[in-house]
Symmetry: D2
Subunit: 364 residues, 4 copies
């Protein structure tokens, strides 16, 4: 087995031309595609319809190639789009396929990807211990499915967290019962990230209490990348790990930025992957980077390294758009690559003001 | 003689508390101050009133300390504020004073700063050869004033370019006469930058024609940093150069970014100043950086290194604010410093899509 | 014959639930639908993907109901979405169907709608006399098709203007030949609007010269509502007129706002439709309004009634979004209705700073 | 006694030229000025520095005319600027002076204005019953000072509410004691507005509990217009009322908009002032309007008259800027005047989604 991965540049959120070419040329088959993860040029906020447009377009494209329906594709393939290509970021998609070929190389682990989902969540579970534990258990199951040798081999766990619909009556009832619902984006992301941290052993299961979720940010995962989606009843999970029994030339590594300009953390990841990170990568090196992922926020304490920033106090611009521009530029400065995947709202993703970074590279 | 320079962090555009402390403690006298150059947290656009507020506050502060009036200070001291502290940028001012002390060190050039202005411009001269030549001549005079040994010792020429007021009647008359006025921000900046390029010998005087101004961007300066101001009848110029006959511990160096993520250009400047730029500077090194200046734009061709960017096509955000976030983050990634001075609209400042970068450091 | 029209509120750009219900309940058949005209909650700018999403969703919805394909629907039905629901504007669609039923009422004209398109345009024709004349000729053909008795019976001509793709080489060649291309949004809209003005006799055919297009704004249409779309090779036209031989209860009227707060023009239209406009319409009156259309701009001269406005000088907000908020509120103030269709960029649509307004009402 | 009032248009936040002319021409003396209330072209948010710039400029202007200092003027004169001139709003100031002249007209009340302030507030009082009661008591004192005959004669109470500085330690201590501080903008405005409501008898003193403040919006004032300012230790209050013993030609009236497009409420105010509001006022009528004030918000429930609006869900634009554009356009539609004073964040100002409107007119 091996993972086939390709970064494809897009001309707009609905541009599937590059994927169509790949399918037309028979490089992969539509049925082998397991995930399309992309950055679209929206605002990344509530009214960012570029994501829905992209999902619709990619599902239609794969459905036509597979002789299937859009609904079926949306059920089978992870179509995950993050809005916001601020600064130098270039809109793109990363297409992942699983091929039934490829010879494991002795002594050398290669990328494997597993996809799964949790059980359905009741509204009162979201953002609480129950969600953390179920998420952790699902992540562990995916690790077993891939026969991951050690938690350190897990480099990225991307989750779209559940936020089941809830009525105002249910909300009031829960509040009246002294257990106000946490069925919102913040708490869904927070519990998802802590679920990853528990699965990889970064946080002990018994450290998790309802009180610490979305509050005690000393607890965090170094490999989570969680978003959440209103209306979703179960969380969807994509696990990236290096394993011995997969072939191919793809290898992943990760690190944790301690703050939003922690270049040293990124340099360390590049070094792990065998690059000379004492300078910006050269074009032929940059070309080996297939995917670059990071999650971070404008530091909510209002300063970075004791210097005030204005990402939260400028009412004309969203802090999320600023923060993505910054993190993506840190990555581009070191790698020379601008088609990077940076996402914000990073509760329990790395330390407060910092966040996880993961890089997928093709081995020479 | 020596230049005293200090970067002071600000809590708001009108916050002069740090300067007040410096004056109160007698470190410098108000009369010694020659320039206050700052970044304020506005939008950097036409309705950015943070600049006017800062000018007013700093002029009032210096006037009170000097027993002078606001108007007199505005006449004597360069008060130059650039709006826009996007991304991680921290609002700050750089205060420059000239002290009648300091021993030149043999074989070692130190920062000197000269301030001057062109003659008044007629509206029809702005953005044309006349403005380029007068600007060049003034820059050369300032170089002589400082006894600059060679053009390579000039590292930054900051200009606020003239845009004399012009009536609609004058505009129509000029257009009718076949010489439409160029009395606008774009052409004033463009001619100012080319004036610097002529003065430092980067562009030959006879290469300049009206046609090439704001059009042929293969002509550019590597040390200019020009803005322009409606209502100004003459251009104000601040020249930064290293000279043998000044003392103190300040040294400047510069380079040119070939594109907006040209980290190698910045690394080269740091290396010239004696830093190990194979990694982000460490805190004690960062502390030696007194001023970091860059000028650049979101590439108007819509792509950086063959990858599309959306800084010009996203109607919800200004390209200038995106571009400043990017360049400042490139600088912060390498230096660890977020109180940097990045300005946009960079006609004839470095190659298209790139721009000059200059760093002022304290020698150990 | 009669026109069936219904305003349907939407929960998001892709929300077709209300249309689905109408189709499910057999009120109309998908094949009878001739146009869906909507306002989506995007920014109305270049990166407004809410429009493409809505087109895709509505085409899919109608295709499924008609047992047809998305492509076929897009060919047969006008799917026209305008982004930008600023201020109190409520996102909605107006669905128009033509039913083979309805008895004309003697002495009483009723709404008829015709849909057509121009011939393909060559790039050099766009924004020039050729486009004006072909547009005029097509509008006249549609008027004949509906047997419109007099130009005064035409109340709205909505056009999506052609902007055929053009290579840089073609652009340079045209410029070199002294006939620079005008193949852009501004000139396509301008020529389309003047085409309507010529068709309805507001402007004489021989008054049109290339020089006056997008320049002499004393020439204008009182019933045009033109946008333009890059890539479109022919202009798509929807004509709304009252005619004697149609039945139903729908009647339209129009007027021209002289400036952006010209309430009297709107009141006059309401009065024509039989409403008491000396106060805001009451709920049962508001309920009779099926469609409210206006086109206007923030006055480019920077003031309204001798008072400065800041819609063009505030760099944090788009003038188009401000202008739509204003015009839609004028309409809501008088009608009590917030689901209105206001579009901006109104070259030759009413006088400079003003624009046409048309209202479609159900007769009691 | 009589009040002198004049609306002056401004070219920028610091433009005092019109006031300077008034002072130069001896129309009023600087010492007679009691308030300058203006709209500046900022974003109305936290980083709106146009307000501070205007305060500084107007204080300097009055200080020079009065031979006083900026600090003294800021102590004596209410300088109150509200940022945000969205849509058609024209930046302007309303200058109010009290002249020791003017003959009361029998049977006819005229505008009187009183200025005062509460005692200093402790942080734990802000946003709680104590602040409501002290505000009410101060408003009542100002009513007595003006000998207001009945609460119905009070038409506008403008308050800048206190928000004393508070340390993190104090915040934690208060939270730990079960009385978390409410020392923020929301609660300061809310308590100020309820204070006005108690003073005018709209809400009974014993109806006020801590629980209902910023929560039960069925309690509200019809004449309050409250903002708040971090750092202010006492609330500053300006009371506008019609009284029998003042002369002059100024009369005020007010009403309450039930929702953001409640034109009928505005029409009623105009009718009270003797205008024919069955149409937009004509220029000579508009000229008699000296001040137009309103306070409102984008309805937090997300809809207006059962139609969804997007002012809260569009992440690219502030709800406050949308809401101000809407309310100001409602006012301009009816009055023909665009230099109106509309402010947002209207807790307990009129019913939820609506708000008070007050108009100051010159009697013929």
């Amino acid at each position: 087995m091996r993972i086939w991965a390709r970064r494809l540049l897009t001309a707009s959120p609905s541009d599937c031309a590059a994927l169509q070419t790949v399918l037309d040329q028979g490089e992969i088959e539509a049925a082998q595609v397991i995930a399309v993860i992309g950055k679209t040029e929206g605002n990344g906020g509530r009214n960012d319809f570029s994501r829905e447009l992209a999902v619709r377009a990619y599902a239609d494209c794969l459905a036509e190639a597979a002789g299937s329906s859009r609904e079926a594709i949306e059920e089978q393939v992870v179509l995950s789009f993050s809005g916001g290509t601020e600064g130098v970021v270039s809109p793109h998609v990363l297409v992942l396929a699983r091929l039934d070929e490829g010879t494991p190389q002795p002594g050398s682990k290669r990328l494997a990807v597993a996809v799964g989902h949790t059980r359905d969540f009741a509204p009162h579970e979201v953002g609480r211990v129950a969600m953390v534990q179920e998420t952790a258990s699902t992540v562990r199951r995916l690790m077993q499915e891939l026969a991951v040798a050690a938690p350190a081999d897990v480099h990225l766990v991307q989750i779209k967290g559940a936020i089941p619909a809830v009525s105002a009556a249910e909300q009031h009832a829960a509040a009246a019962a002294g257990q106000p619902l946490r069925c919102d984006m913040v708490h869904s992301r927070a519990a998802s990230a802590l679920g990853v941290a528990v699965a990889t052993g970064e946080v002990a299961s018994d450290e998790i209490t309802d009180e610490r979720i979305a509050r005690d940010y000393t607890l965090f995962s170094s490999v989570a990348s969680c978003s959440s989606k209103p209306g979703l009843v179960r969380s969807e999970i994509v696990l990236f790990a290096n394993v011995a029994h997969y072939g191919g030339d793809l290898v992943m590594a990760h690190g944790v930025m301690q703050d939003i300009i922690d270049a040293e953390a990124v340099r360390a990841v590049l070094t792990q992957l065998g690059f000379d990170a004492s300078r910006q990568l050269r074009p032929q090196e940059t070309a080996r980077l297939v995917g670059i992922f990071a999650k971070a926020d404008a530091d909510p304490r209002g300063s970075v390294r004791s210097r005030r920033h204005t990402m939260w106090s400028d009412d004309d611009i969203a802090d999320t758009r600023h923060a993505r521009a910054v993190v993506s530029t840190v990555l581009a400065t070191l790698t020379g690559e601008t088609a990077v995947y940076v996402s914000t709202r990073a509760e329990h993703h790395g330390p407060l003001g910092g966040g996880p970074v993961a890089i997928l590279a093709r081995m020479p």
